[in-house]
Symmetry: C2
Subunit: 112 residues, 2 copies
C-alpha cells in the first residue's frame, strides 16, 4: 500500500498508512484493550482471515505503529501492542472514529 507518493498533503500520507482494510480496526482494538494475542485479535474481528490479519499486522509493525512480542514457548505466544508512535496516530484518529460512529447510519444507507 504505497499508493501515491510523493504525497500531496498530510492526509494522503496518513490514509496511506491507515487505509488498509483492517488496520483501523486493529489499532482501535489495541488501544481499547491493550496488548492482544494473535488469536484474540482474530476472534474479535470475526470476518478477517488469518492471511489478512497477519498481513495487516506486519505492515503496521513495519510502519512502527505496532510492536510484536514473541514469547518463545510451546505452544507459541505472541502479543501485539501499540508503540508510542502508534498511540499518537490513534489519538489523531479519534475524531474520525467519532465522526464515523455518529454518522454510521447515514454511511450505511448512502455508501454503496
Amino acid at each position: 500500500m504505497a499508493r501515491n507518493r510523493p504525497y500531496t498533503c498530510g492526509l494522503d500520507a496518513a490514509i496511506d498508512v491507515v487505509g488498509g482494510k483492517w488496520k483501523a480496526t486493529v489499532l482501535w482494538m489495541l488501544e481499547d484493550q491493550g496488548p492482544l494475542r494473535f488469536g484474540e485479535l482474530r476472534r474479535q474481528i470475526p470476518a478477517v482471515t488469518e492471511k489478512m490479519l497477519i498481513q495487516q499486522l506486519r505492515e503496521l509493525e513495519a510502519d512502527g505503529l505496532v510492536h510484536r512480542e514473541a514469547y518463545h514457548q510451546v505452544p507459541p505466544k505472541v502479543e501485539y501492542s501499540l508503540t508510542d508512535y502508534g498511540r499518537t496516530l490513534e489519538v489523531a484518529l479519534r475524531p474520525l472514529g467519532e465522526w464515523g460512529h455518529a454518522n454510521m447510519a447515514r454511511i450505511e444507507a448512502t455508501h454503496a
Copy 2:
C-alpha cells in the same frame, strides 16, 4: 468501495468513505480553496487521471459529501464544493492530516 460491513467501529465506516485513492486530497482541496471546477481539480492533482478523478468525485457526491453544480453553458462549466456534511468530515479529518504532515518524513521512509 463498500468494504467490510457491518462495520466493527466508527473508524471502519469513516475510512470506508474517505479511503479512496484521491478522496482525501479532493476534500482537502475543496476545503482549502472553496468551489473548484473539474479542470482546476485536475490541474492541482497532477498525478490523477480523468477517469479516477471523476470516479472519486461521483462517489463523494453519492455519499453526500460533495455537491456538483453544473452550469448549462457552452463550453460546459461544473463546480464542485463541500456540502455541510462534507465540512463536518473535513473537520474530523484535520487532526489526521496534521499527524500525516508532522510524520511525513517517517512515513515515506518506513512505508513500503
